[in-house]
């Protein structure tokens, strides 16, 4: 049985939570909270903390079982099957859409003439390699890629600083606190994507008392760092582009990358940054590929190479269906807001509530 350490859980969680949120987040929150959008990022991500802690407390109660197996214990076989099917469908569909985003980002930014299918193929091949290598290799992959993503982000932001216009920072809270709350709600689905992933990874986590404490600390650290970095990303874009332009630029960070120039020697280094960010997308798509696999294995006992291949084909199909730009971004937003957010929040709360009630009532 494969196992990952508490540290690997923290880094893997951070990498999955981060994904490519830094690309559309500025446009999303600024659209709702305007100039104050950056303030809604950290609270939005923080929604994930109580849910993660609930999931870990369920792990404490039911060691080495994933949330679907715990659902079967708490809610019965058939309800678990229905939940499992919804879980598989949502995560599978979302994973396919994210694979579509690989092609969309590359084709729209640096390689417009290359057939989009080549990007899907490159992405799915790497995802497939990771899936076949197992969760340990996936965790190690994120241990290497996550720092690279952070370095690329920091470099991109740092090198864009000369373009900051300080006047864009003020006024603060001109519309009151309400837009910030709505902005936070836009970010909350990102945290729920992470929750859906950790719902499945539970079987690979350590369950000792010390390790559980480390897992909880890992959740706090992952959410804080990802929230903090995304806050900076939004803030920099608002300060450089202003709120109006930030909303209209779907992948604003790529535009920033295009504008970077180092001592008149290197310019337009977004193609280099995209190398690191491609790793982030691979991690995110792989995470949802894993969730589909765990779902299929738990609910239908389907596992092995041919089912992996099947899921890969489905991902490719979804990626091809929603080809480009606004249609794809809208669809991702739809799944995030109307499927992932309600499903994860209701499911986790219900399970946690029932388990607490059973514990208090002394029902095993």
């Amino acid at each position: 049985m494969e196992r990952i350490s508490s540290h690997q859980f923290m880094v893997l969680g951070a990498a999955v939570l981060m994904g490519t949120t830094f690309l559309p987040i500025a446009s999303m929150v600024t659209g709702v909270a305007s100039r104050d959008g950056w303030m809604s990022v950290l609270p939005g991500f923080a929604v994930g903390i109580p849910y993660s802690l609930m999931v870990i407390s369920l792990l404490e109660q039911y060691p080495q079982k994933n949330l679907l197996q715990i659902s079967e214990i708490l809610l019965g076989k058939w309800i678990c099957k229905i939940i499992g099917i919804v879980y598989i469908l949502i995560t599978g569909y979302f994973g396919g859409l994210l694979l579509g985003q690989v092609g969309d980002i590359y084709q729209s930014s640096i390689m417009p003439l290359t057939p989009i299918g080549m990007f899907y193929l490159g992405g799915i091949l790497l995802v497939f390699c990771l899936i076949r290598s197992g969760i340990e290799v996936f965790a190690r992959f994120s241990e290497i890629i996550f720092p690279l993503i952070v370095i690329a982000l920091v470099l991109n932001m740092g090198l864009s600083m000369p373009r900051i216009e300080q006047g864009e920072f003020l006024p603060i809270l001109s519309e009151g606190i309400k837009p910030i709350i709505w902005g936070g709600l836009k970010v909350a689905p990102f945290a729920m994507e992470y929750i859906l992933f950790i719902a499945g990874i539970l079987t690979f986590l350590p369950t000792g008392k010390r390790e559980l404490a480390q897992l909880k600390r890992g959740v706090w650290q992952a959410v804080f760092w990802v929230g903090f970095l995304n806050t900076l990303v939004v803030l920099i874009q608002i300060l450089i582009f202003g709120p109006g332009e930030t909303v209209s630029l779907v992948y604003g960070l790529l535009v920033l990358g295009k504008m970077v120039e180092i001592s008149r020697t290197f310019a337009g280094v977004e193609s280099l940054f995209l190398g690191a960010w491609f790793g982030a997308l691979v991690i995110k798509v792989s995470a949802f590929f894993f969730t589909v696999n765990w779902g299929l294995e738990t609910v239908f006992n389907l596992k092995g190479l041919k089912w992996n291949l099947g899921v890969g084909v489905v991902f490719m199909g979804i990626a091809f269906k929603f080809k480009r730009g606004p249609v794809l971004v809208m669809e991702i937003g739809f799944v995030d807001n109307y499927l992932i957010l309600p499903f994860a929040s209701v499911w986790i709360l219900t399970l946690w509530g029932i388990s607490r009630w059973k514990k208090v009532a002394g029902i095993s």
Binding site: I110, V137, A139, G279, V282
Partner: protein, 523 residues
């Protein structure tokens, strides 16, 4: 068709259990070896070889005892044998009170205990032990028709002395290297680690070659799991001969399909001693100066022993140069292809103009140009490698200067491409381990093709695929990419990309289960 498929399967899939390679046919000798020990039978078995010497003589004890000494000419020290075995027994000890008591039944014990002064003397009673000892260079004396015999260790043959290894030369540090003789090698190691916990376990491999090898480690530092795994994997090997460590390497490594080396090797006793003190296990094979070291991790192939003999700061700089060199050797041609074919926007205008001026008139796309030049480089390297040194140098000069210059003048390749390929070649020489350098040469080609088709996206796909492959590799249970992933922060900061000063190397690397903490300093 089925037989073809079976053959392909046999050639590509390594069996999980016993690994049989070129198993010897059964000889009548095999049956003879099961017979009771006697001098006459041994003589019959070995009499057909002209290099076997049979010396018959008598011992005058209580009774006249016929003796037969069997040795292999060229494998024994004849002077030693004459001076300390034959002369005492036949001349000097005649009339000795102990010898006077000797009969056929007690002569062996009396000879061992009272007559022969040598250190390596023992009694044997098995036919296979007798034959194996003789063929390994020991001298065996049979007494009449006794079913026991004496083995005397008086080996001596022409061998290469302790020289500086060619492949691992250093500026600062010990200059001695392993030789082809197993005992010389173990003695070199023992001189470095004079502690009773150094374990040297002897084994034999190869049905026909009967090659001696030893597994060596330091008890309580090496993980018992790794030691037992090494012994288990060696025990699985069934082959007729082991001429070099390369025979064993492929049989015991974790992933035989990977281009990356998973077992380290060294020709230096100081390196082996250092690795054993880190908790690793060495495999020394008779007949080769190369010693295998397991488990191996990726970064180990980019670090050299001289790093520990230099000052920490200079060692860090050397390591940095090696890591950069390795990275350049992997990606330089593919990045050039990607930039010139797809991503001209990242090149400043002046440089872009200069590159396009250089490429003007070149009839091939950058991908084909790079692949052709890399193939030429590979041919030059391969041609120069096995030629005598002066001719090898000529090949290098002819290749680098004359062919390169002519190709540029003929407009077949651009000058920048020659620079890139030259840089790649020089950078790959910065990789200290030849096996890793070969792996880098191999992975360069798919990366170039991906760069030619998909630009930086292709390079990213290729590099991530290589990364995933590396992350999945293990060497005797230890993750190949440790201590980077899984992260071992102390090992990473202490002795991976950088080398901390000696006073800061307080603990052994956390690459494996190490039972005993390091008291102070690396070794």
């Amino acid at each position: 068709m089925r037989s073809w498929l079976k053959m392909i399967k046999e050639l590509t899939i390594r069996p999980k259990g016993e690994r049989k390679v070129r198993k010897s046919p059964s000889y009548s000798i095999d049956e003879d070896l099961k017979k009771p020990l006697s001098g006459q039978t041994v003589k019959e078995i070995l009499s057909k070889s002209s290099d076997i010497v049979f010396r018959e003589f008598f011992l005058q004890g209580k009774e006249r005892i016929p003796c037969l000494l069997i040795v292999v000419d060229g494998l024994v020290d004849k002077n030693l044998l004459d001076e300390f075995v034959l002369k005492p027994l036949m001349v000097e000890l005649v009339g000795h009170p102990e010898l006077a008591k000797a009969t056929l039944s007690n002569v062996i014990d009396i000879t061992i205990q009272s007559l022969l002064p040598g250190v390596e003397i023992k009694k044997i009673s098995e036919m296979k032990d007798a034959v194996s000892s003789i063929l390994s260079g020991d001298s065996v004396i049979f007494f009449g028709d006794s079913s026991e015999a004496i083995v005397i260790g008086a080996r001596g043959w022409a061998h290469r002395g302790v020289n500086e290894p060619i492949a691992e030369s250093i500026v600062k540090g010990p200059h001695e290297g392993f030789a082809e003789t197993l005992r010389i090698n173990t003695s070199l190691l023992r001189r470095k680690i004079k502690h009773p916990s150094l374990r040297i376990i002897s084994l034999k491999l190869g049905d026909m070659s009967n090659t001696d090898l030893v597994v060596t480690y330091i008890e309580k530092i090496a993980s018992p799991d790794i030691v037992s795994e090494v012994l288990k994997r060696l025990a699985k090997i069934k082959m007729d001969s082991v001429i070099d460590v390369g025979y064993i390497e492929e049989m015991i490594e974790d992933n035989p399909y990977s281009p990356f080396p998973q077992i380290a090797y060294t020709e230096r006793p100081d390196v082996l001693a250092g690795k054993l003190l880190e908790g690793k296990v060495g495999i020394i094979v008779d007949g080769t100066p190369i010693v295998l070291v397991v488990p191996a991790i990726l970064t180990q192939f980019l670090n050299v022993n001289e790093d520990y003999y230099q000052r920490a700061m200079t060692a860090i700089l050397s390591r940095f140069v090696r890591y950069v060199g390795a990275f350049v050797a992997v990606v330089a041609p593919s990045v050039y292809i990607a930039v010139t074919t797809f991503h001209q926007e990242i090149i400043p205008t002046d440089l872009l103009m200069s590159i396009s001026a250089g490429r003007q008139g070149v009839p091939f796309p950058a991908l084909l140009e790079a692949i052709t030049m890399t193939v030429v480089l590979e041919i030059l390297q391969e041609a120069g490698l096995r030629l005598p040194k002066p001719i090898g140098q000529t090949i290098g000069i002819v290749g680098a200067l004359i062919i390169g210059d002519a190709a540029v003048n003929a407009g077949l390749v651009s000058p920048l491409m020659v620079i890139i390929i030259g840089l790649t070649a020089v950078a790959s020489y910065a990789i200290p381990y030849y096996d890793l350098s070969l792996a880098v040469r191999l992975i360069r080609f798919p990366l170039m093709i991906l760069a030619g088709i998909l630009g930086f996206f292709g390079v990213a796909v290729g590099l991530y695929a290589i990364m995933i492959h590396l992350l999945g590799l293990r060497s005797f249970g230890v993750p190949y990419t440790s201590p980077i992933a899984p992260l071992r922060i102390r090992a990473l900061l202490q002795d991976t990309f950088v080398r901390a000063p000696w006073w800061a190397l307080k603990s052994r690397p956390q690459l494996m289960d190490v039972e005993e903490p390091r008291p102070n300093g690396k070794g």
